[in-house]
Assembly symmetry: C2
Homo-oligomer: 231 residues x 2
């Protein structure tokens, strides 16, 4: 938690690491509430779902936010994973004692590092990312300790004072839906974002791990609202 | 300093971040002495001197080391600097209170992060880099605190136990020449490496900051040897 969670609005600008998914879209609208001007950066890395980038473009237009695209296909050449290599069947569950093969090694490390260099060029020091420890799913680069360590590393690398904001770090998917609702963008997030591993927008394929997580959260949030209304 | 400085040889493998310059070539031969097998990784990022990569190839062949090339031209698109942009005249001296425009923001951050992902794929945890705090020249990403912070960040990002070795961190250019001599490769380093900002191999153009630093160090080392012999 920080001052921004309490509704303070900064006169400064922010850069959102933006994929067009539920989490980063919620963060985009969170940033619009808390900063005077918001920029977004999205990454293409040879993933199967370029539909994701199309979603990102459409949402950025809706939100009237400048979207900068960076080709980082080198990431796909570094390791082997099922998001960038179509010859590998995607893990639907996390294998015991290992990472799901949807893990792109170092992905958030590269996204946030590139975002930082880009932000520095634009004179922006606030960087917003939708990573969540709650939604950890076996990905080490979603953990709070990684983000904090990276923040220090980036500041030392460029002699700068970046501040990485992670509004979703300690909340679950139901609470992320609640945040979208409070920001007045529940419908946009529900209909325009792409989270599904099989590349289907909105409510998605319904059976991949990302769809299950998203739907369970949405149902829990809608149920809690219904309970409030029924009372 | 660590056990490897004392002459211990590890049964493990190492990956050297290698540019074909004086520092990383000295590190390559240092690694060959201290590890059972050595790999090298070199980066192309749109710099003017692809001659550098040719030097790297030739030295890797001489050392019988596998050289992996990675295209990271995205780095050149992120910021503005005189190494990747031929329209900018190169700073010959560090401007007061600023960085020389030869500074590529985040360069070592990306080189070492990519090296780590590649090393992890190969099952290597030792990474060797020729950065030196002594030779700081205004580059924040050559400092010991940055390297140590990055080491922790990389370990957290990939749940791994990388060890970044920096054999040149606390020694000056004269001592780097001394290290090359003790490793029996003074002539290779002197004749086959490229350090010069103007792309001239060996003793270089003689007047850019890199050539001045290199020559002053070599002269100081050769003089100290002469003094020893004369005694």
């Amino acid at each position: 938690m920080n001052a921004y969670s309490e509704g303070a609005t900064s006169i400064e600008q922010a850069l959102v690491v933006f994929s067009g998914g539920q989490d980063s879209t919620t963060c985009l609208f969170w940033a619009l509430k808390h900063f005077s001007k918001v920029h977004a950066i999205t990454f293409g890395y040879g993933q199967k779902h370029s539909a994701e980038i199309e979603c990102a473009r459409k949402i950025a237009d809706l939100a009237k936010v400048d979207l900068h695209f960076m080709d980082v296909s080198f990431i796909g050449k570094l390791g082997t994973n099922s998001l960038t290599d179509t010859s590998i069947e995607m893990d639907q569950e996390k294998p015991a004692g290992s990472y799901p093969n949807t893990f792109v090694p170092g992905r958030n490390l590269f996204f946030l590092s590139i975002a930082a260099v880009y932000a520095r060029e634009k004179g922006i020091r606030h960087i917003v990312t939708g990573v969540s420890q709650t939604d950890f799913s076996g990905y080490p680069d979603c953990r709070d300790s990684f983000i904090k360590s990276l923040n220090v590393t980036l500041n030392l690398a460029m002699d700068n004072q970046f501040v990485i904001h992670t509004p979703l770090m300690w909340i679950d998917k139901a609470q992320t839906w609640e945040m979208a609702d409070r920001l007045g963008v529940l419908d946009i997030v529900r209909n325009e974002t792409l989270t599904c591993y099989n590349g289907i927008k909105g409510d998605g394929c319904g059976h991949c791990p990302a769809c299950k997580l998203r739907r369970t959260g949405l149902e829990a949030y809608l149920l809690s609202q219904k309970t409030v209304i029924d009372k």
